[in-house]
Each structure stands twice: as C-alpha cells, then as structure tokens.
C-alpha cells in the first residue's frame, strides 16, 4: 500500500485562554511548518471571533497522552472514593470559574 504523504506540515494543537488568569483550553489543531506559521494559522482559525486573549500552540507530537486501552487503569480507581472529590464544600458566593 502506498503511504499518502501529508504535505501540509506538522500538526500543532491549539490552546486558548478566554481571559487572563483562566486556564488554557484545547481549541483544535492546525497544520504548519514551524512555530511562526503555527501561531498565525491558529490565530486565523481560532481567534477571529473574540474567543481568546491568550493562545498556545504545541507540536502535537510533544503531547504525551494516555493510551485509550489504559483508560480503566488510569481513571477508574477514583470513582468509588467520594472523599477525593471536593463535593462536600460549599463554594462561597462570588467565586467564579470553578
């Protein structure tokens, strides 16, 4: 089978911050050949409608992810330990973005 060659450059993941101080959230991905192009392409795809005030682009191959087949060993053990979840606290009024 012939391998199809991707001529669009490397894949980069884009993270946006909606307001200063808030966490960056994954917004999507872009193709680009280097950092400069990656940040410009990300801007053109993801920030033209006021979506963010901060942006990161990260080479997709620099992200270490959990193998889906390991899902249960990574995530399930927390399910039955309610004390690990901060659900017993009442949030004071006026706290936002929690």
């Amino acid at each position: 089978m012939s391998e199809s060659k991707d001529t669009q450059g490397e894949l980069w993941e884009v993270f946006l911050q909606t307001k200063k101080g808030l966490p960056f959230k994954h917004a999507g991905s872009v193709h680009a050949y280097d950092k400069e192009m990656a940040i410009q392409n990300a801007r053109d795809l993801y920030t033209r409608r006021g979506e963010g005030r901060g942006m990161w682009v990260v080479p997709a191959n620099a992200i270490v992810a959990v193998d889906p087949s390991d899902d249960s060993s990574f995530f399930d053990p927390a399910d039955d330990k309610v004390y690990r979840h901060p659900t017993f606290y009442e949030l004071p009024e006026g706290i936002k973005n929690m």
């Binding site: 669009q8 410009q40 392409n41 033209r48």
Partner: protein, 251 residues
C-alpha cells in the same frame, strides 16, 4: 474641508479595499493548504469590512442618495478609483502575496494618519483598520521571507512577482489636486513622505530576505482618473453580475 472632497477621498480608499477584497475572495478554496486558504480569505474579509465602512461614509458625504451598494454594483469601470496594483490578478501565490504586501504597507501608513483626524467616523474606521492591517503586515511579511529564502523556485517566483508588479507602485505616492487638499487638512501624508516610507521599508525587507528591488523606473498612472488595467473589467463583470442580470433584485 469640502464634503465632496472627503467623499471622493473615502471612495478611492474604499475602492482599493473593495477590489483587493474581491481578489482575495478568489483565493477561497484555492489556497496552497487549508490553513493558508483561510488566512488569505480572512485578509479579504478584513478588507471588505474596511471597504464597506469607507463606502458607506463616502455615499453619505456625497449626499446624492446613493448607498454603498449603489457605489459597488452600479458604477462602471471608469467610475472606480482603486489603484491598479489592487486589481492585479492572483497569477500565482507569490503575486497575491506581493500585491497585498505592498498595499498593506501603504494602508498601514494611510490608516495611521487617519486614526488621528478630527472626524469621528473616519478616525473610528481607521483605528479599527490599523489593528487588522498590522496583522496583514505580519502575515504577508512572513510569506515574503519564507518564499524569498525558501527554495530556488519560490525565490524565483516571488522575485518575478515583485518585478512584474513594480510598475504599479508609483501610483501609491502620486499626488493630484485632491491629495494636496487632503494633505493640507492633515488627512494624508505627502507623496514624497509616502514614497520614502514605502521604498525604505520595501528595500530593507527585500534585501534582508535575499530579494531585490527592481531598477525599472517606468510607473503607470491613471487610476485616480478611473483608468485601469484590463483586469478591472473582468472583476466587475463577476462582482456586478447579479445586479446587471437582475437590476435591483431583492430577496
């Protein structure tokens, strides 16, 4: 300041933005890759927004009951005052980049000046455009560098585009009676200052990325009188098609 003069001034600038916007829109779905396709179309959208604001204002100042749509869809070729550079075709990606790059340098200076004038509408339009154009400059500057320092072929193509489009640069600093009035009122910088600004920026940027400024001295002239290259007619034929086929169509 005569309202009609200001109207003509806004119309010229608006026309250049409009025609460039159309050229950029032609690249939609034809970009070298998906992200750049969107980037190029975005440049066009910014220019269309500037054109709309400027032509609405031009129509209002004119006071003849015409709307911005009338200006766009009902004027013949000779009634358009965009620079010839703005209408040059997307021969290849390098041509599009060079056309927009030079026009962007010009616009950055124009809007910078207009952002400070004592006219709320115009200074408002300009203040918004300054930010948009700053990004255009960055994006197009990146491509000039990338193509100039890229492969032998990309270098040759971008240099060809620069050489071929160079004769249209003279119009950007040419002055007629209206320009002099606008300069006097502080709405525009002198042709001499514009020329110095363009030449200094273009030549320093080009030489930095191994490209060169053409030596040819012949420069076209005429767009301020509505004279154009053969390309504008084709643009209008497409842009005004609906209006020509179904005058005043509504839906």
């Amino acid at each position: 300041m005569e309202l009609l003069d200001l109207s003509r001034f806004c119309m010229r600038l608006g026309d250049s933005c409009l025609i460039m916007a159309h050229r950029q829109s032609e690249m939609c779905s034809k970009g070298p890759f998906l992200e750049e396709d969107i980037a190029q179309t975005n440049l066009g959208l910014d220019l269309l927004g500037q054109a709309e604001a400027l032509l609405i204002y031009a129509a209002e100042l004119e006071g003849k009951g015409r709307t911005a749509d009338d200006l766009v869809y009902k004027r013949p070729e000779r009634g358009f005052y965009n620079f010839m550079l703005a209408e040059q075709p997307n021969t290849d990606f390098a041509f599009a980049v060079v056309r927009q790059y030079i026009m962007t340098l010009y616009l950055s200076r124009v809007y910078e000046t207009l952002a400070k004038v004592d006219d709320e509408t115009l200074s408002g339009i300009a203040a918004k455009a300054v930010k948009e154009i700053a990004y255009h400059q960055r994006h197009l500057g990146m491509w000039i560098k990338r193509l100039g320092e890229g492969t032998e072929e990309s270098h040759e193509r971008i240099q060809t585009a620069i050489n071929e489009l160079w004769m249209f640069v003279g119009e950007l600093y040419e002055e007629d009676e209206l320009d002099l009035k606008m300069q006097e009122a502080g709405y525009a910088i002198s042709g001499e200052a514009m020329k110095a600004y363009l030449m200094a920026n273009i030549s320093s940027h080009l030489t930095e990325v191994t490209l060169s400024v053409p030596k040819s001295v012949y420069m076209t002239t005429g767009s301020k009188k509505g004279i154009h290259t053969e390309y504008l007619g084709y643009i209008l034929a497409e842009m005004q098609y609906l209006q020509r086929a179904y005058p005043d169509a509504k839906w």
